[in-house]
């Protein structure tokens, strides 16, 4: 039980470091002087002290939507597969619940964007719904197929099963599901091929457009929601697709897990530096690829048994 | 020893094509006569005769097909002597054509005589790839585009054939080991194949590839477009020789498939060919120039050959095949003269021939035109009689007599559409239009005479007995 709560708290507190690490890696690769890893915390405290201003045309939604964006993500943190052997974990939550909670959070973010009554907010919300419509089926199929391969529909139990016994005979479908999930990780978290997290230009923003109007406490909450979302996706990828290091002793297992998260963040940062942002109308090509791979992994497992 | 004798004329042709004198083209035509000699010798040897271990075996079927193809080859090279009098062709392109013709012959000899599925495929691919360039000897943009089309579609068809061959090999490998590639061993052990579904799927994919090459159902028009865009000897080559190579492969594969599961084979091929003839009949009705007309008619005859072979009348199929392989190239070669006034002038194409040569030409072409729509005494008439009779006999043993009678009636209706169109074209060629002077040259006339003689030779009782003994 202790490991369960401790890991949740540690991951929530650890989230800003991951995002700052990605930004620092990109800056090192571009030969700039990198920001420090604590920058996320400094931004958070700065925002908490700022005055919160809300526009006159917005309604009550702008006051309570940011909290509703954060809370489903924190609920998901309770359902992730365990890091250490012997820790408590919730075993019955399946792919639909996790995807549903993530899309609940996205829904409130879209409402927030629409509510600010600015043109940017509406544009951002429509783009976000365009991307989310393609991401959701792929995510359900991918996590479903991995859970089938691991033998249990609950994601927590699936993570434990995969760590204890990795099914070598289903390598092909595993590979397809892994490729699909990586594409989804990039799309849902607004990284470069799909959305640029560092820009405020109208042509290129999706996530930033929806929160353009926020300041102060609300912006701090939304930014921490974004970092927690990345931690959720990264830890799902690490426990489901890189299932080694579960059997080790507790401190070592935690260290290996954190190393895996950093590895994933480095991979995303490399991809961001080497790729240009896709045109919005080319994004369905990429996400269609994710859907096809998710479907392929399910059907390869089911029909061929490979 | 025999193999080198067979391949020697092709190599001589390849070498002679590099000589730049204009008189060399008579030498080139002579080398195609040389091809005939080893084949006649092969005819007289006892069958089956092993040419190269168990890879190349000459039995009755392949010597017959090879003989037919070599006669067609002779005719084509004779007609090529006067190619530049009818169309614009540069001497360079002419020589390059012969180089690829030599490579084509090598591939053809390997594929027709082979007993090994892999060698059959290699020969077929060599033949296909060398014909791609032959289309391009006509330097128009349409020929360039059609050469590309042919390359792509031909490559797809050949790869499908190889895919099916690998599947068939995989299905027979457990019992035969590495020898599962040989046709005769497969035929002997056809009933022992452990997974007939795998074999049938391989056969279906191979047949699909071969049917695409012959111009059946989904791709009816690609052959017509290719033959329109190239010169008439190339078109004669396609319909006479290349299709023989494909059809002999179909004959061998389907013999094995008949042992594995006759019902599936019959339904598959039957429905496919009826569909093809249905579409081609209406396409022929609308054809407005000679080349398209003849190539579509070639598709229809190929469909009939396939249908006859599968319905248990191999004699009819082989007779029809021989007659078609003589008639169709003859008609194609004569379009060189018939189109002297322009492509779309069908009316009056058979008028205006003066002198002895013109008279013989006119007479032979009308005979050929009437023979190809199966008027007696053309061999096609007899083969269709036998073929349809065999189809009814096969149906008598199963429970589908009514369906077969309906299918035969439907086929006869479609064939009558083609008959009507050909007769209409013949009448317009002979009785309408203006009389304009057309030149006939002796080499092409000689080619037509050779074809006529071999057609009559098909009707001799010895030939008919030989064909009967093949099946």
């Amino acid at each position: 039980m202790i490991y369960y709560f401790a890991s949740i708290v540690v991951l929530i507190l650890f989230a800003p470091i991951l995002l700052s690490y990605m930004k620092a890696t990109k800056m090192v690769l571009l030969f700039k002087r990198p920001i420090s890893l604590m920058q996320g915390y400094r931004d958070f405290s700065k925002l908490m002290q700022k005055e919160t201003i809300i526009s006159e045309e917005s309604s009550a939604i702008s006051r309570w939507a940011p909290f509703l964006v954060l809370s489903p993500l924190i609920v998901i943190m309770f359902f992730l597969p365990p890091v250490v052997k012997g820790a408590y974990y919730v075993s019955f939550v399946d792919a639909f619940t996790i995807t549903g909670l993530i899309s609940l959070s996205t829904f409130f973010l879209m409402l927030l964007g629409l509510d600010s009554a600015s043109a940017f907010g509406g544009m951002g919300s429509s783009r976000e719904s365009f991307i989310a419509a393609l991401v959701e089926p792929a995510m359900v199929l991918t996590i479903f197929s991995v859970s089938l391969m691991a033998g249990d529909l609950g994601v927590g139990q699936a993570g434990v099963n995969l760590a204890e016994h990795f099914p070598k005979e289903h390598m092909a479908s595993f590979l397809f599901a892994g490729i699909s999930f990586f594409i989804l990780l990039i799309a849902e978290n607004g990284r470069i091929p799909v959305d640029n997290p560092e820009t405020h230009l109208e042509l290129t923003m999706v996530h930033e457009a929806m929160i353009l109007d926020l300041t102060g406490v609300y912006l701090a909450i939304i930014e921490s929601a974004a970092s927690i979302k990345f931690v959720i996706f990264a830890s799902l990828f690490a426990s489901l697709f890189l299932p080694f290091g579960y059997e080790l002793a507790a401190p070592l297992a935690i260290a290996v897990f954190i190393l895996k998260l950093f590895l994933i963040a480095t991979a995303v940062a490399f991809l961001e530096v080497n790729t240009a942002k896709l045109r919005l109308f080319k994004v369905p090509n990429l996400l269609g690829l994710a859907i096809v791979f998710a479907f392929l992994s399910l059907i390869t497992f089911y029909v061929l048994g490979a | 020893m025999m193999l080198s004798l067979l391949l020697l004329p092709a190599f001589i042709m390849f070498g002679v094509s590099f000589i730049k004198k204009t008189k060399a083209k008579y030498l080139l035509a002579f080398t195609s006569f040389l091809i005939l000699l080893p084949i006649v010798k092969l005819f007289l040897l006892p069958k089956p005769y092993n040419i190269l271990g168990s890879y190349l075996i000459a039995d009755k079927l392949d010597t017959y097909v090879l003989l037919v193809s070599s006669i067609v080859g002779i005719g084509v090279t004779l007609a090529l002597l006067t190619l530049d009098k009818h169309v614009k062709v540069s001497p360079n392109a002419y020589r390059r054509f012969y180089r690829f013709f030599a490579i084509f012959w090598v591939g053809l000899i390997f594929s027709m005589l082979s007993n090994h599925m892999g060698i059959y495929w290699i020969g077929l691919e060599l033949a296909t790839l060398s014909t791609v360039y032959m289309i391009k000897t006509n330097y128009t943009p349409a020929a360039h585009k059609e050469a590309w089309n042919y390359m792509i579609v031909g490559a797809i068809a050949i790869s499908l054939v190889l895919f099916g061959i690998i599947l068939m090999y995989a299905s027979a490998k457990p019992i035969l080991g590495e020898d599962a590639m040989n046709f005769d061993l497969l035929l002997a052990h056809a009933k022992d194949i452990p997974s007939p579904f795998l074999f049938e799927m391989g056969f279906a994919i191979t047949t699909l590839g071969m049917f695409i090459k012959m111009g059946f159902f989904p791709m009816n028009l690609w052959l017509a477009n290719i033959e329109r865009a190239s010169f008439y000897p190339v078109a004669a080559l396609f319909s006479g020789i290349l299709e023989s190579a494909v059809v002999i492969g179909f004959f061998r594969f389907s013999k094995i498939a008949m042992e594995v599961n006759y019902n599936h084979l019959f339904i598959f091929v039957f429905v496919y060919t009826i569909l093809t003839i249905f579409i081609v009949a209406f396409l022929i009705y609308r054809a407005k120039d000679f080349m398209r007309l003849f190539s579509l008619s070639g598709v229809e005859h190929m469909a009939l050959i396939v249908m006859f072979w599968v319905s248990g009348a191999p004699f009819a199929a082989l007779l029809h095949f021989g007659a078609h392989a003589f008639l169709k190239p003859a008609l194609f070669l004569s379009t060189g003269v018939l189109e002297s006034n322009g492509k779309y002038k069908i009316a009056g194409a058979l008028r205006g021939y003066k002198g002895f040569k013109g008279g013989v030409f006119w007479f032979l072409v009308s005979l050929f035109l009437l023979a190809i729509i199966s008027l007696p005494p053309s061999p096609m008439f007899f083969s269709e009689l036998y073929g349809f009779g065999a189809m009814i006999t096969t149906a008598k043993e199963s429970d589908h007599m009514l369906a077969m009678i309906a299918a035969v009636l439907f086929l006869l209706v479609l064939l009558s559409i083609i008959f009507y169109r050909f007769v209409a074209i013949y009448q317009s060629m002979k009785y309408e239009g203006e009389e304009s002077e057309k030149e006939v040259y002796s080499s092409e006339l000689f080619a037509l005479v050779i074809f006529a003689i071999s057609l009559v030779g098909l009707l001799l009782p010895q030939t008919l007995d030989y064909l009967r003994s093949i099946s």
């Binding site: 070598k168 005979e169 289903h170 390598m171 092909a172 479908s173 595993f174 590979l175 397809f176 490729i179 080319k282 369905p284 090509n285 990429l286 269609g288 690829l289 096809v292 791979f293 479907f295 392929l296 059907i299 390869t300 029909v303 061929l304 048994g305 490979a306 | 614009k88 540069s90 090994h116 892999g118 060698i119 495929w121 290699i122 691919e125 060599l126 790839l129 791609v132 360039y133 391009k136 330097y139 360039h144 590309w148 390359m151 792509i152 490559a155 797809i156 790869s159 499908l160 190889l162 895919f163 690998i166 599947l167 090999y169 995989a170 490998k173 590639m181 997974s195 579904f197 795998l198 799927m201």
Partner: protein, 197 residues
Amino acid sequence: MIDFFIGLFLASLIVALFTTRLYRLLLWYSLNSLMLGVLALSIGRSIDDNAMVITGIVTIVIKAIGIPYVLKNLSQKFHFVRQITPEIKVQYAIMLVPAILVFTFYLSEPIVHMIHTNANYVAISISSLFLSLLLMMEHKNVAPKIIGFLAMENSLFLLGVTATDGMPMLVELGIFFDLLMAIVVINLLFHKEELRV
């Protein structure tokens, strides 16, 4: 391990279906051939078949390095169009590609009951064949059609290597020879000459 490489083979083919740039398509094709060569090497090493090891090495050298290089040179010499958009829109492709996959997998299902080893490799080869046919059909320019044809040869080779534990050496040599001759003919076809009479 064989499953992993076959998975990467199919994955690179599917990604090649959705791409819109010519050089990226060449990269996916060379990845495809690389996976095929590595697969042939590992199977050859495990069943101790020297012929397959040699063909694996030849595949990697010719198909993964040589042919993309030659095609890139050709495209630069003859100024190919480098933006290749598919004729079927991506929303239909998302539905068409899984439909083809389902169709071909179910086509090969009866084989699973008859061959107990390697039945799914036949299924994946057949789906690669159909997908490369789709690649050929969905582009109008000539360069993706050539690459589709080459991908079809790759899937044939995959079938030969996995389903039958190697074909006779003669056939594999013949396939390579024909591939090279096809490239020569393609090269010849690109030289558009004027009418010289």
